[in-house]
């Protein structure tokens, strides 16, 4: 104890005053914090302008645009085919589903049929993508909870196996550029199918192990249960889609509703949550992965032979008639849609992406209000955004 501390105390003691008034000059003031765009837990270059009372969030404004790569403008200046590789880079974890959504929109625009085998391949690849995305999401979510390393390492170990499959089929690990208007670019070889089947059959065992690692973990439950709870009617009004919507209990899965591809031929359930909180959002994804495994196994069992490309499909000189089309599929993060307006030229007149994670962010502030900063990080992690898609 230093002398300057003693003397006031001594003087107070001598004057008989044993308590002193607490005068905290910062009490009641709000603190403005800018989280991001360089922040380890914002999943890229996302920024949140947070106003804090102590540690509690009283206001949160998301700031976008740090990865605004002018995707839509470029889509208007390249041909229909030329935009396909760009869709890989929208949601760069799930290029296969982006490809499919774009191919679906163009096929609707041009009235282009797709052979049966190609539709089966698309289902298989989309569900593999869902496995990949949800596995990574669980890893990143745990990373955000402060569990640095281990779950993400396990997730990426499995991701590499799926990426090996994608690479063997399409030639690239992440940027597959695999779907074409009227089918798929190449056919899957029997060896590839055998490898994919082997991976799918073993994936359940990995999920069991992964769930033993985290699902029952008391710390995870304490951190996520009741955090960021979302009401179904608000979720519908805000256009939330994907696992985040189904965690609130709303039964809306485009694989069932639109029945695109050959999904009506497969038997699977749509898992629903009750609370709409962060833990439900995590569990929905784990359950969806188990359903995805079932879908892939059914698709392998009934995969028909035949071509993977419609013989009338055109690669070059593709000019759809004037008109417009909105095509959407259930991506791993929600409804990914493409809205195309054709004026009869080789380039689309308007090329619009309906990004699921951008719209899902609408309710970020509502979810975070009243929670602490540390919870905001987890809530953001459970919404599952990819900035390439948010900002385009």
């Amino acid at each position: 104890m230093i002398a300057s501390d003693i003397s006031p105390l001594a003087s107070r003691l001598s004057s008989g005053a044993h308590t002193r008034a607490v005068t905290d000059p910062f009490h009641g003031d709000l603190l403005e914090v800018s989280m991001g765009p360089h922040h380890p837990s914002t999943h890229g270059v996302f920024r949140m302008q947070v106003t804090l009372d102590g540690e509690t969030i009283v206001k949160l404004k998301p700031v976008f645009g740090y990865l605004h790569r002018n995707h839509e403008k470029l889509g208007e200046s390249t041909s229909y085919l030329g935009s396909m590789p760009y869709t890989d880079r929208l949601d760069y974890l799930n290029s296969m589903t982006n490809n499919w959504a774009y191919a679906l929109a163009v096929e609707q625009l041009a009235g282009q049929p797709v052979p049966e085998r190609a539709e089966y391949l698309r289902v298989i690849l989309a569900e593999l993508t869902r496995l990949l995305n949800h596995t990574c999401l669980a890893g990143f979510l745990l990373q955000d909870c402060g569990c640095s390393g281990t779950p993400l390492m396990y997730a990426f170990r499995e991701r590499e196996k799926i990426l090996d499959l994608f690479e063997a089929l399409s030639g690239s690990r992440m940027m597959c550029n695999f779907q074409r208007f009227g089918g798929c670019r190449t056919d899957a070889s029997p060896e590839w199918l055998a490898a994919a089947k082997q991976l799918t059959d073993g994936y359940g065992a990995f999920l069991d192990e992964y769930e033993r690692l985290i699902t029952g973990n008391e710390i995870l439950m304490a951190r996520t249960q009741g955090v960021g709870a979302l009401k179904p009617d608000l979720a519908i009004s805000a256009g939330i889609t994907g696992p985040m919507l189904r965690a609130t209990g709303v039964d809306y899965d485009l694989r069932k509703v639109d029945g695109y591809g050959f999904y009506p031929r497969f038997e699977f359930r749509v898992p629903l949550g009750d609370h709409g909180d962060t833990y439900d959002r995590y569990m929905i994804r784990v359950l969806e992965m188990r359903e995805s495994i079932k879908i892939i196994q059914q698709a392998f069992a009934t995969l028909p032979a035949g071509p993977v490309m419609d013989p009338k499909a055109k690669l070059r000189g593709f000019r759809p008639k004037p008109g417009e089309a909105y095509g959407r599929i259930e991506g791993p993060r929600g409804e990914i849609g493409f809205y195309l307006v054709s004026d009869g030229t080789p380039n689309p007149y308007r090329y619009r992406v309906r990004p699921p994670s951008f719209v899902n962010l609408t309710l970020l502030e509502d979810l975070c209000l009243g929670h602490t900063v540390a919870d905001a990080v987890i809530i953001l992690g459970s919404i599952d955004i990819v900035l390439g898609e948010v900002d385009r």
Partner: protein, 215 residues
């Protein structure tokens, strides 16, 4: 630092030195020792921009294991980092922040432009909000082309950077920035303008050669 430290002991050829090293006798110069230490502890900034960041994460995971190169310590703060891996598209809205992060890093510092977007804007270079290469504002040491580069390609780029660090002279005009008393480590940060960044490039850093194409 005087000359004897930066040159090999006189009279010993490179062949002899390799032979001696094989026998377990290590002959080294201070320069080599210093660079050896620096090159094997390059700590990158934990800074992901876009698609390439996922491959950067994959590089630090079990399959590729960047820890074998002493670079697994991804620091969240620029104050503790030696290496800025620009992993993805730098948009004009993000460019001032990237330059600011670079300025906040202490010397000696290095920059790797990973992927087509960071080098030149890549496939998105015709976009109105895309910076056509981060080297318009900060000096880049290693360029790794690819979209995105495989994790092995990032490791190869990292090895190229280590090679570059090992070859740096500690004295003379070719010495790295942090050993030159007059060198600046502050680079001008662009401002947001009404139509574009202002300025659009840093002419002291970005000097492209003239290439003329006929019609």
């Amino acid at each position: 630092m005087s000359d004897f430290a930066t040159s090999l002991p006189a009279g010993i050829s490179e062949v002899d030195r390799t032979e001696l090293r094989r026998q377990g006798i290590l002959l080294t110069s201070l320069e080599e020792f210093y660079n050896w230490g620096r090159s094997n502890s390059v700590w990158p900034l934990q800074f992901g921009l876009a698609c390439c960041a996922i491959e950067m994460i994959a590089t630090s995971m079990a399959r590729y294991d960047i820890a074998r190169f002493g670079s697994e310590v991804f620091r969240p703060s620029p104050r503790q980092a030696d290496l800025l891996i620009v992993s993805g598209t730098v948009t004009k809205k993000m460019a001032p922040q990237v330059v600011r992060l670079w300025n906040q890093m202490p010397e000696p510092k290095y920059c790797i432009a990973m992927g087509a977007c960071a080098i030149s804007g890549g496939p998105f270079k015709q976009g109105y909000n895309v910076l056509k290469g981060i080297d318009r504002f900060i000096p880049v040491d290693i360029y790794i082309p690819g979209c995105p580069p495989r994790p092995e390609a990032l490791l190869h780029g990292l090895m190229a950077l280590q090679e570059k660090i090992r070859g740096q002279k500690l004295t003379g005009p070719a010495a790295p920035r942090h050993l030159q008393p007059d060198a600046t480590c502050d680079y001008s940060i662009p401002e947001f303008g009404a139509h574009d960044l202002e300025p659009t490039k840093n002419p002291t850093v970005f000097q492209p050669p003239v290439i003329v194409r006929k019609e």
